[in-house]
């Protein structure tokens, strides 16, 4: 393998590292009064990272199979890059606040570092790379969650996240060690044939699922989610709920489909229970939230439950529906978070009751929010409908019709709380609605991207077919 090919295989990771270093150096060179230039600089730089990442590369592996790159992982990294770009575009308003003036660069650098970790995790070919990637991704996030270090909630959320993250990583590592003990290898391809239903493997598997459950915030491992989401700055909450979760779900599915494919019946019953719990409990808690961040936190827990239905489908159909759903989820959730961030930056309001009468003053933001909520609820013709329908199709392909019935019942319940927000914005009267304001151009670009995604990703069947063609090469 030539050096150039190696670079090509590692293009996403290398680009991210270079981008992070460039931002650090640029920040050092900037005089104190011009620091805010770093915001637009990082956005533009990251747009180039996204574009260069699209360069195609032949599938291949590095470091003796520890790092595996194929078209599907490449695609996954591209959509995560897109999500991070959208988050960057949305964070300008927040970073311009005076208390953040001295630490703007850190915001971008830390996000890029954690994304690097996720990229390594996505491409891992053995449990060691997987674990290192996961940890690289986890630690900077705690820093980001505590970014408002002067606010006690933010600091508390950071501590909570780092402690629980360490605990879950420990559990995960313990599980991995058991699997290593039972099979004698850490490489996915060597482990797969050795996996049996021996007690040690099953125990290791349970620990593994528990550890991943924390990262994806499945019930009963979800307790950190709401507090951390509420305490973190809103752009970081968006990152946690979309990018961090998307990457973890992806690698979780890959490991289940490849490493644990011998004990499929064992893990399908585990996932069945987790899916039912996650959807139901996430929904029930979302019903009564008034803080928009907590609301979206519980909604994203419920959405994770739906994603598990896609995993139940296994094989290329399962993988396709998951990646497709994550893609749609990025546009959808980031649209919702973007509107929430724009409103928070302009007025400081972050409660649903504060949104009353928003349509009369800020009609465009209200419409984007409504689109996003309809997409989250899975209402046609927006993309969320297609995403959810295909997740259900995936579960249906294995005959889990009762599970689908539970899921659609939950989807109906979820419609209630999504409509609550729509009702606040469009129907409820308010004497003092949030005043009309103009959000920053970058915010508007990001919301435009998200709205286009919400509108067209579903209708353009080519996207689904493309993902299908990528994943059927692998599974």
């Amino acid at each position: 393998m030539t050096g150039f090919q190696t670079i090509l295989l590692l293009r996403h990771e290398l680009l991210l590292i270079v981008a992070a270093v460039v931002i650090i150096i640029y920040d050092l060179l900037l005089p104190a009064e011009k620091k805010s230039r770093i915001i637009h600089f990082s956005m533009i730089l990251f747009a180039f990272v996204l574009l260069l990442g699209l360069i195609p590369s032949a599938p291949g592996e590095l470091f003796g199979g520890s790092f595996q790159e194929n078209k599907l992982t490449g695609f996954m990294k591209d959509i995560l890059n897109l999500a991070v770009l959208i988050i960057f575009l949305q964070s300008g308003g927040y970073l311009r606040k005076t208390e953040n003036a001295h630490k703007m660069a850190e915001f971008f650098v830390l996000i890029i570092f954690t994304l690097t970790g996720m990229d390594f995790m996505i491409s891992s070919g053995d449990f060691l790379t997987f674990f290192i990637g996961l940890e690289t991704a986890s630690i900077p996030i705690a820093g980001l969650v505590a970014y408002d270090q002067l606010k006690s909630r933010s600091a508390e959320a950071g501590v909570k996240l780092i402690l629980l993250s360490a605990l879950s990583s420990g559990v995960l590592l313990y599980g991995i060690s058991m699997i290593y003990g039972a099979t004698g290898s850490i490489y996915f391809r060597d482990i797969a044939p050795e996996i049996t239903t021996s007690p040690l493997v099953i125990l290791g598997f349970i620990f593994f699922v528990s550890g991943m459950g924390f990262k994806i915030s499945l019930v009963p491992y979800h307790l950190w989610t709401a507090d951390v989401y509420e305490g973190a700055p809103i752009n970081i909450t968006a990152y946690l709920s979309v990018v961090s979760k998307g990457a973890a779900v992806f690698i979780f599915a890959v490991i289940l489909f490849t490493v644990f494919k011998n004990i499929i019946h064992a893990w399908e019953s585990v996932l069945y229970a987790l899916a039912v719990l996650t959807m139901t409990i996430g929904n029930l808690f979302a019903l009564r939230q008034d803080n928009i961040k907590r609301f979206l936190a519980f909604s994203s827990i419920a959405q994770a439950g739906f994603i598990l239905l896609g995993i139940m489908g296994t094989g290329s159909l399962g993988m396709t529906t998951i990646v497709y759903f994550i893609l749609i989820y990025i546009f959808t959730n980031l649209a919702a978070f973007g509107v929430a961030a724009a409103i928070f930056d302009a007025s400081g309001v972050e409660t649903i009751s504060g949104y009353k009468g928003l349509y009369s003053t800020n009609p465009k933001l209200s419409l984007v929010m409504m689109l996003a909520l309809f997409s989250l609820a899975g209402i046609p013709p927006v993309a969320g409908f297609f995403g959810k329908f295909f997740l259900f199709t995936s579960a249906g392909s294995q005959g889990y019709f009762i599970l689908i019935l539970i899921a659609v019942a939950n989807a109906t319940v979820s419609l209630y709380y999504y409509l609550r927000v729509v009702k606040a914005m469009f129907i409820d009267k308010n004497d003092q609605p949030i005043a009309a304001f103009k959000s920053s151009p970058t915010m508007r670009i990001s919301l435009l991207i998200c709205s286009l995604g919400i509108f067209f990703v579903g209708f353009i069947s080519g996207i689904f077919e493309y993902i299908m063609s990528l994943s059927s090469m692998l599974f």
Partner: protein, 500 residues
């Protein structure tokens, strides 16, 4: 492009055109033009269908066009119509056209109102042209959700509660339906090969009986919720009473028929064995709908509630007739869909117009209105006659055929149910005549009402459009009945195999 797709494209273009116009005047004219084009298209479709059948064309569906949308899942965008769906499209076009004129004075957020209203209609048109269950479901849900905004923003009374109740119940129904449709999909290739959502292909596949027993009730109830099947009808009175005029018209007139059409086209047609087996449960439920709805209407004082309960009763009769599963009864059911659609739309339009003048819908607070607003009053009375099944109007033809068909069953159970349901004709007469007597005739109770003006030109246009249909069917039922009968034959042939 396929001509049928125009039924979706024209409303979408209308919506886009409305986006670029401002103010009530511009918006309503654009909406009226768009829906006028739609009405012409529908008229052309009926004409084309009849002339094609006149030449002896034997295809089950005409104007079929197919686009492989998601090839790996074999999900298509397939459109095509037969006599049944063509007549229902014509109904929809008439009701939405009348609805636009009934909302001529919509002053609060007019642009948003017409956009949402036409989006709702888009869903209905799309539903009736779809032959692929995926697109059918997509359009079905598309038709449900604008309701929330329409009732919540432009409604009256306890609108938030009504809107939420209606939306959640209908979405709950469509949740059940989704499982049913996935079941049909995954049992569509018993001998291997690719799964399909195509209605015509599915009708050739024999689904295992065990699977039918699981998926039939889900599908039937799923559609039945929209058809106000007892005990899932509770959204209907609240929803219809709170909705703005055009929405009540479209909802009671057309959307409830979506439910009935789905029950028939998807649930009964594709799972005939389970349908025959379980029909008795649903016959009991629909009989309750019919009788209970009629009694409910007697007890109400609010004009909209009266009409909403009457819709529960009449749509219950449609579902009842469909479950009889013979040609006569089903023919009657489809005639009733169209007849009731026109009739109830007319009622809701008139109620909206009267309410706009008197600012009350309480029949005990009004009286003698016939003297003040003769045009609206006479229209209401004619609508009432059609509703209680007076010969010469559409209601008579439809109900007569239904009871003929239902009575063809020889066994005691069907006979008893039929007699019970037929008793609703009398109850209908009671509440219709009671309403007319109370608020149209007698002395004028409120002096203020003497100043009321009669119908304006757009109101006349709106009501006359619907009236033409009602009298047309009543006087010349055969052309419509023939249209339907031709398309029913293949369906009935299939059902006959499973009927004992």
């Amino acid at each position: 492009m396929n001509i049928l797709s125009l039924f979706v494209v024209v409303p979408v273009l209308t919506v886009i055109a409305i986006l670029f116009t401002g103010g009530l005047k511009g918006t309503r004219i654009v909406a009226a033009i768009g829906m006028g084009v739609q009405l012409l298209l529908a008229a052309w479709l009926m004409y084309y269908y009849l002339s094609l059948k006149g030449t002896g064309d034997l295809h089950e569906m005409i104007l079929v066009s197919d686009y492989n949308w998601f090839p790996t899942l074999n999900i298509h965008y397939t459109v095509g119509v037969d006599g049944i769906s063509a007549s229902l499209i014509a109904l929809t076009a008439m009701v939405i056209f009348a609805g636009v004129f009934a909302s001529w004075g919509m002053e609060y957020l007019p642009r948003e109102f017409f956009i949402t209203l036409i989006l709702l209609a888009t869903g209905v048109f799309g539903f009736f042209i779809s032959l692929d269950l995926f697109t059918l479901f997509l359009f079905y849900e598309l038709a449900v959700i604008p309701m929330y905004l329409l009732i919540g923003i432009w409604g009256s009374g306890p609108k938030e509660m009504a809107a939420m109740k209606l939306t959640l119940m209908l979405m709950g129904g469509s949740a059940l339906l989704l499982v049913g449709l996935l079941g049909l999909y995954f049992y569509s290739a018993p001998d291997g090969g690719s799964y399909t959502f195509n209605l015509l292909e599915l009708s050739k596949v024999h689904m295992p009986y065990e699977a039918q027993r699981f998926f039939f009730p889900l599908t039937f109830v799923g559609f039945g919720v929209l058809g106000a099947l007892f005990p899932f009808h509770t959204w209907s009175p609240d929803g219809h009473a709170s909705a703005p005029t055009a929405v009540s018209m479209l909802h009671a007139g057309v959307l409830m028929k979506l439910g009935a059409y789905g029950c028939f086209r998807v649930a009964i047609f594709l799972m005939p064995e389970a349908a025959t087996e379980m029909a008795w449960i649903f016959i009991i439920l629909t009989s309750i709908s019919v009788v209970y709805g009629a009694f409910g209407a007697i007890m109400q004082k609010d004009l909209k509630y009266i009409n909403a309960y009457s819709s529960v009763s009449h749509v219950g009769l449609i579902l009842f007739a469909l479950l009889m599963m013979n040609k006569t009864a089903i023919d009657g059911a489809i005639l009733q869909m169209i007849s009731h659609g026109l009739m109830t739309a007319l009622f809701f339009a008139l109620i909206g117009m009267i309410y706009g003048r008197t600012h009350t819908r309480d029949i005990t607070k009004m009286g003698g209105l016939l003297k003040v607003i003769p045009f609206l009053g006479v229209m209401y009375i004619i609508g009432g006659f059609a509703s209680l099944g007076l010969p010469g109007f559409s209601g008579f033809v439809a109900e007569m055929i239904i009871f003929f068909g239902a009575f063809q069953h020889q066994d005691l159970f069907h006979r008893v149910a039929t007699i019970l349901v037929a008793s609703s004709i009398v109850i209908t007469a009671v509440y219709i005549l009671r309403v007319i007597g109370l608020f149209l005739q007698g002395p004028i109770k409120n002096e203020e009402h003497l100043k009321l003006e009669d119908a304006k030109w757009h109101e006349k246009l709106s009501t006359i459009t619907l009236m033409v249909g009602i009298i047309g069917i009543g006087v010349l039922p055969l052309w419509l009945s023939d249209t339907i009968m031709g398309s029913l034959q293949p369906i009935v042939d299939k059902l006959a195999v499973y009927l004992h």
